[in-house]
Amino acid sequence: MKKDKVPQDDDNLMEGRSRELCYAVDENGRYVSVLSSGWEPKNTALLQAWEQIGEEAKKAFDSFKAGRVSPLGFYMARGMFDVSLLSAYTKIPKRRIRSHLVPKNFRRLDAETLRKYAEVLDISVDELVKGPETAKIFPGEK
């Protein structure tokens, strides 16, 4: 890859926080490092991964709206947590996490358990109890 061919396809996936470094050849045929704000095929692949997560979250959201699953189901899908990973983080046994996915068991949860879940899922206890209002996985998403 030539230095002047280093792609700058910014899809805002880096949220303006940084650019990434890649290696390319300058006019003398020597390697230099160049900053890139993104490359389209790569952006496409990352967006595809998020689309997949969004689909899982949408399923969980619909189940929550239909009263089949507790809000925990949606926030787990959004954060890519399966039961084992959530159990590893919270030290709550998998069996109990599965039971907390049932709305009526979830409603009886004590404050301490809710706090543990909310902390790992990066939301407030309030949000967790109320459940999602939309199926969006990113705040501010269009």
Binding site: G29, S33, Q48
Partner: protein, 333 residues
């Protein structure tokens, strides 16, 4: 207390933590050099090991291997420690910082607050260097970021104790002894030889050049075997592994080509310069493949003939890499 550490950005976090730490201790090598001596170029496709229901693809050896090989080859002694308890892991970090030692840490990306959100996956083998602590904030050199960043004590403890595959368990490391004399030419030769072995002689079909051929044979059958949607997901994951944060482009092929240029100077072997150019062309082919893959995912074309195209480029890449590594082996024997 803040240690005078120069933050330099790199393509890959493991190379970055390594060179930023070594430079502090007076051993100044470039990222490509660290990657080459650490024999970082690799390929593996493991159809029977799945992450998030997708077979594992990797363009580099196991996490931590590059740094381990780099240190062993240069004769640098590294202190390494894992912990049983989060509080204890923070105490040990503070203790090292108080003695003026910058510390390398393995962390998880999911709760990393300064990371762009689209990159916060449950990825537990990210590497950073901590070089100071002030008013409850830790100063951090994360080599994939342009500028130094900071985290609170709680935030740092959380990412040091992320859970899932490859858990860090508070792992920290730093160089304790650098040899007085570094024999760079012999380190470069060792690194190249080891990389040739890794790419050419592992006796399983899933690794090195054989692994690329294996994927090439499989990939053309994906649409029929998996259905269009799943095939596209496999393909998307494949190019993410190739290009996502930290490969320097083309699954580390450009970094390796940059290493061969430096190696050519260090060893005074013009042949390595020629092979560097070949490696660059090879990297360009990887990117041509990713461009086609991107179009497939975006559905800017029709039919399955494009999976055929991807497969054909991979086969050609395998030929190229077989040739490059065979020639490299001769060049340094």
């Amino acid at each position: 207390m803040t240690i005078e550490l120069k933050h330099s950005q790199t393509a890959h976090c493991e190379n970055g933590a390594a060179i930023n730490l070594l430079r502090y201790h007076g051993l100044d090598i470039s990222e490509p050099m660290a990657f080459g001596i650490g024999s970082g170029l690799f390929f593996t496709y493991l159809p029977f090991i799945k992450m998030i229901n997708i077979p594992v693809t990797s363009f580099r050896p196991l996490p931590g291997m590059i740094f381990k090989r780099l240190a062993n080859t240069l004769g640098v002694e590294i202190f390494r420690k894992k912990f049983r308890d989060p509080q204890e892991s923070m105490k040990a970090l503070d203790h090292a910082l108080d003695q003026g030692i910058p510390v390398g840490l393995q962390v998880g990306a999911f709760h990393l607050t300064y990371f762009p959100r689209p990159y916060r996956f449950h990825f537990n083998v990210h590497n950073i260097v901590v070089y100071g602590r002030e008013n409850g904030h830790y100063r951090i050199s994360d080599s994939v970021m342009e500028e130094p960043v900071s985290l609170t004590c709680e935030e740092l403890m959380r990412v040091r104790w992320s859970r899932g595959a490859f858990e860090p368990r508070g792992r920290m490391y730093f160089p304790v002894k650098i040899p007085d004399r570094i024999d760079l030419p012999s380190a470069v030769i060792k690194g190249i030889r080891r990389n040739c072995r890794e790419m050419l002689t592992i006796p399983f079909p899933f690794f090195g050049v054989k692994g690329i051929r294996y994927v090439s044979r499989k990939i053309r059958k994906w649409p029929k075997k998996l259905g269009e949607k799943k095939a596209d997901l496999y393909l998307g994951n494949f190019i993410r592994m190739q290009e996502e944060i930290g490969t320097g482009g083309a699954g580390f092929r450009f970094v390796y080509a940059a290493f061969l240029q430096e190696a050519s100077d260090v060893l005074d072997k013009p042949r390595l310069m020629e092979l560097s150019h070949e490696m660059t062309e090879d990297g360009d082919r990887w990117r041509a493949m990713a461009t086609i893959a991107g179009r497939i995912i975006k559905k800017r074309n029709s039919g399955h003939e494009t999976y055929e195209a991807v497969s054909a480029i991979l086969w050609e890449i395998a030929d190229r890499e077989q040739h490059i590594f065979s020639e490299l082996k001769k060049a340094v024997s």
